[in-house]
Each structure stands twice: as C-alpha cells, then as structure tokens.
Symmetry: C2
Subunit: 284 residues, 2 copies
C-alpha cells in the first residue's frame, strides 16, 4: 500500500481521506502537526512527539479526541498496515468544526494521521553538507505560536522556496531582533570554541524533538553544550554547523551565504553526533 490516512478511527487510501470544508484547521490554520520518521515498522521518538503535541494542544486549548495511549496505538496501526521500510508520518490535530472564529472552546478536535513511503534526504547532503542562505522573512518571537508546530506554516514554505531559488538547500530565519531563530524546517546548531551552541527557544526556535535529543546526547558524550543567542556572523565564523529535524536527523551545514563554514566539510563534532543519533534510530 503506497499511501494511507487514519481519520475518524478508520484507515483509508488517500483518495478517500477527506475533512469537512468547515474544519478550523483549513479555515484558519487552527491546529498543530507533528512530522515523524517510520523505520522498519517502528516510529522514531513517538512518545516525545505525542507529548509535544499534547503540550501544545493544552497551551492552545485544542481538544485531542484520543488519549496519548490511543494516539500511539493509532500510529502503530497505520505503520503496520503501510508495511514499508521507511515512512514519512504526519499527525495533524485541528480544533475541528464549529464556533465563531475566536471561540476556542467550540471545536471537538480532529486527528488525521498520514503515512507514505519515504526516501529520505540524498546521501550527498550528509557527505558534503547543505548550503544555506538567510530568508527574507523573519520568525516572530513575539507570537505565542512560535513555540508550537502549528498549521501556520506558509512562512516556512516560502523561506524554503526562497532558498531553492538562490541555489541553496535551506533558509535560515532570523527573529525580528536580528538573532538566528531556526531554519525553515529544522533547528540549527553551531560548534564554536569547542562548544555546541543552539538558539534559545525565546529567540524563536521551535522546541524540536531532535534538537532536544542532540542536547541530551551531547551532555552524555561530555560535549559542552548551551543555548545561546546567535547572530549571522556567529554562524559564518563557526567551526562547524548542522541542522536537525525528525526526518533528516543530523544534517551538516557547510556553506552559508557566499562562504564555507569551517573547512567546508562536515566536522568531527557533527559526525560524532550524527553517528550517535543514527545509533539511537538503529536501536528502535
């Protein structure tokens, strides 16, 4: 089976998966999502994704029709049916249908789970690293949405498209104060003066699952690691840099704007953290 959706307790092929045209997720981006990696019948960091989804749903008062245990079981059920080596998985939670726009308590919540075969990023990205540019748009660290993975994601798509138009692979978003927040679809880490540094959440970084995993791995490996505000100059002068997200894992970043980062190749700290992250996935 190539592509499956779980909606309202049923697993159906893509052509039968629909939502009401009045769903608030569609009308206003009134919802959340999680992107997950499926590997050989297992799901990477499933409990962490469900915990983040529930925390955000609680903060934004979006009711979730399934308990964490039920949602976990639904994801495992669709993964079992999809029966592929590597899967792209997405959980979408909307506020559902109903109420005036600002009546946050009117909806009953709607869950959609999507599974499809996933090829992963081309190997040459991991070997040679990505190139990034600065996005024109800025991340709005003043918005409460900034700390949640909401359906308000068009700014990120436009930033990524802008990167492609400039022969780059990713776009880095500054916040409105000019500090680095994150990339269009990933968190950013740099290595400078033998320290691993990543922007704090208050600068507009999404609390990424792999971002947190990397902070934990670094601590375990004895690599000094801190959340610190970063300017574009810090990235340009870094010894190493990499992106993280649930689909790419640890992705070396070797070029920024016109220049090379460090020696222009994935560095030793990046390689070590990538291997540790891969080991965790192999142990699923």
């Amino acid at each position: 089976m190539s592509e499956l959706f779980w909606t309202d307790g049923e697993i159906v092929p893509a052509e039968k998966a629909v939502v009401p045209a009045a769903d608030r997720g569609l009308l206003y981006g009134d919802g959340l999502f999680e992107t997950l990696l499926g590997l050989n019948g297992q799901v990477a960091f499933l409990n962490r994704h469900i915990a983040r989804l529930n925390a955000s749903a609680h903060a934004l008062r979006i009711p979730c029709p399934l308990s964490p245990q039920e949602l976990c079981a639904a994801v495992e059920e669709i993964v079992e049916q999809a029966d592929e080596g590597q899967l792209y998985l997405r959980i979408t939670l909307t506020r559902g249908v109903g109420g005036a726009p600002s009546e946050l308590d009117a909806g009953t919540g709607r869950l959609i789970i999507w599974a499809r075969p996933y090829q992963g990023y081309p190997q040459h990205f991991y070997e040679n690293g990505m190139a990034a540019v600065l996005a024109t748009t800025r991340r709005n660290q003043h918005s409460p949405l900034c700390k949640h993975k909401t359906l308000n994601y068009l700014d990120n798509l436009l930033a990524k498209a802008e990167a492609a138009e400039n022969d780059a692979d990713e776009a880095i978003l500054l916040n409105t104060d000019g500090r680095i927040a994150e990339a269009s679809a990933s968190n950013l880490f740099i290595v400078a003066a033998e320290k691993l540094l990543t922007p704090p959440l208050d600068d507009g970084a999404l609390p990424g699952i792999i971002r947190q995993v990397i902070i934990e791995i670094a601590t375990e490996l004895g690599i000094p690691c801190a959340e610190r505000s970063l300017l574009p100059g810090d990235l340009a002068q870094a010894d190493e840099a990499f992106f993280t997200n649930s689909l790419m894992g640890v992705m070396p970043l070797c070029r920024f704007a016109a220049g090379a980062i460090g020696c222009g190749q994935p560095g030793p700290v990046t390689r070590r953290l990538r291997e540790s992250c891969e080991d965790m996935l192999a142990d699923l």
Copy 2:
C-alpha cells in the same frame, strides 16, 4: 437552505462539503481567503474582493482554478441558492494537493465558497462603540504574508479570544517595532486634529477592502486623510476611533485599555463615514 458550500463546481450542503486531507491549505495554511457580506441577493464589493484574492494569489504563486469572471459567477450562483436576507460569505483558495512542502508550483489550486445566514454585529456595538485592549502577540511586518489574507490566521483568533478574556470586544495588534498594525479582524482608523489617520501597510496593516473604501469616501467628502504610523498613545489620545472590515463595515471604538476615547461615544466623523458606507451598501 441554511448553509451551502461550492466545491469543484458543485453546490452542496455543509455535511457533503469536504476537501482532501492532503490539501496544502490544511497541511500548511498554504492558501488565502476573503470574507464577504451578502445583502438581499447582492454581494458587497465583490469585484474588489476577487481582485485582492487574485493579486495575493499571484504574489504567492497560488493557481486559481477559475477566472475572475467565473469566480464572480460562482459566488452569485451560491448567493442565489442560499436565498437569505443577509449572508456571511467566504472564498477560500488553497494551493491544492501535491508536491514537496516547498514546491510552490506543484498544486493545481482549490476553491471553496461558503454561504450561511448572518445576523451581523449587535446594534449596541454601533450605538455605544466597542472596547479594545492590546494583544500580547505582535503582527510580523517582516513577513511577506503580512500583506495577504492567508490561512495563517491563528494569531488573530488568539488575539480576539484574549480580548474576550479581558472583557473587551477587539484586540489591537502592534507590529514588532511597537507601532499599531491593525486589530485582530479589522483595520483601525483614528481621528486626531481633524485628520483621519490609519496605519500604513508597511506597519503591518492588512490592505482591507473597507479600509480602502473609507479612504476613498473620506477623500470624496473632503475629510483630510492620511496613512501614518500610530503608537498606542495616539489611539488613547484620539478624538475618535473606529474599526473597519467587510462584515462590520464601520464600527466605532470608544474605549481602549482603561480609558475612554474622546467623549467615549461614537464621534461625528465616525458617524458620517458609517452613514456613507451604509449608503453604498444600500445602493448595491
């Protein structure tokens, strides 16, 4: 008939109106919308709404499956079938299904038109004016989305809900530089030193249809009118203030934070502009 949807060339009741679960409008807020007022079988400023939708679609490279003339005819068709005195109408345009997230040219576009009976704002708001507070969130004037009415609207819903929690009727959003941008679902005008003033689009104001209509009416009536950056203090010290949007028309704003604006009642300029706007609607 109480509530109708136009999708894929057909007019159906709400329970039959669905969109694919993989539509990019739902997945990423990758789309636009227009909110329109239907009055006795006519639609207020229909051509202006369609022109704005098309201009934004062009800017964001979202393909529209209907020409402006066809879209106009589809709106008129659903209005005729809905057969109610006053209607809430909404046109939603999404990028449709398909492509990697950042592949802006992959979707084929999807149009949804929604018509339902509409009661309008309670009369006491027009007689006594609304009360507003400042929203916690800020409008991101750095984002290209800021000038378009996109499906990324959750910040606005949260701001409006915040107003209600603070016993107010509307929330005013500052931009990230602390200047007034607009309100959660409307544009803002003030009257100060016998001038009508409204924030410029570059400060984060959405180019509202009624905002533009009011600028034109004021010019016609010889009321000095200008786009000018406004701070919260300018609003607090204004002689008059009002909101505009397509559903409310001209809505007096008489209280801001703890204080009255002007004499705390709808002022003469506000009343005159509201009457002129009402006259235009009566002539539809």
